[in-house]
Amino acid sequence: MATNHPETELIPYLRGELSADERARVGTHLEGCAQCRATADASSAILSNLARVVDDVREPDWAAYRGELKRKLRAAQTRKADVRGRWRWRRDDVRLPDFGWPSIAISTAAVAVLAIALVMHRGPAGMQAPGVDQLELQQELSSANVDLLANYHVVEHLDLLENYDVIEHLDELGPEDRQNHETPS
């Protein structure tokens, strides 16, 4: 029978994070599971060594650290103020001519009317007349489809795997060939 090892609960168990019920369940499991006990011991050793890694970090000169932080903070604030100032300057710098907003509104409306007129003149994209090249291509495709349709009764009687050649040269079939293929073998 497969055993459910409480793998993700071992470290919370070691650190005393589990509720009383969880703790009792994991504890009972540990008593009977040598594999989990070994994992818990190894994890415990690593956890205590990890706590020592932090002791090993060499601390900087805190006065210099704080001085540098203040300079960076001032620089960040100056940058922000500059950005705000630049936007304000741009707003002030863009001065409208004396005729002001009404003329801009009229111009915008005129451009919009022109754009609408242009679209209506050309028609919606899906209804545009095709170009000469497109027309020729469409005609070719249509005629090919008509040929296939005319020979549909032949195709109906074909075994696809055996008559691949026939399908490939369907448009070249003469009336006699059609007769042959229409008659089931």
């Binding site: 190894a42 690593i46 601390e59 900087p60 960040a76």
Partner: protein
Amino acid sequence: MEPSDEELCKRIAARDADAFDLMVDRHQGRAYRLASSILGNEADARDVSQDAFIRLYESAGRFDGRSRFSTWFYRILVNLCIDHQRKNRWWRRLAPLATPGGGDDPDERAFDPPSGEAGPETEAMLKQSIGRLRPALEKLSPQQRAAVLLQTQEGFTSREIGEVLKCSEATARVHVHRGIAQLRKILGND
């Protein structure tokens, strides 16, 4: 009585420079050490922890007090560390993890004696073990490393780690479990 972190944060939001100084003074050591452990580089740890304090100054007004201040602040710090690592991933492949002792061989790196109690043999073994931990930590994913270090160095619970990493408590437990399992494997304890 010393003001709480939450009170200081409110004052910082009102642009109280003294409150900011006090907050930096209170958290600089832990922030720097955690960043250094996650990033494995003292210069980066200095920059990133200072950036975290600048973010704290700029966004103190957004701290809503629903979680502990330390959880909120360490979320800023850990996110900056993870971002920094992502940005510098290509470079870190070329440059090995910096350690106080210098050299590439983990066993040769210099460490301060961990305690005066241990005998020379135990001390050497411990030194060696810790020396191997640093490069092993480097092999963990940023989330695993942050989760493991928040737990061992900051004493965060799984729920708090989940708040910092913006994941559930169960996911935080999985990050820690996988991180430690990976370390066991690398260090040959598995």
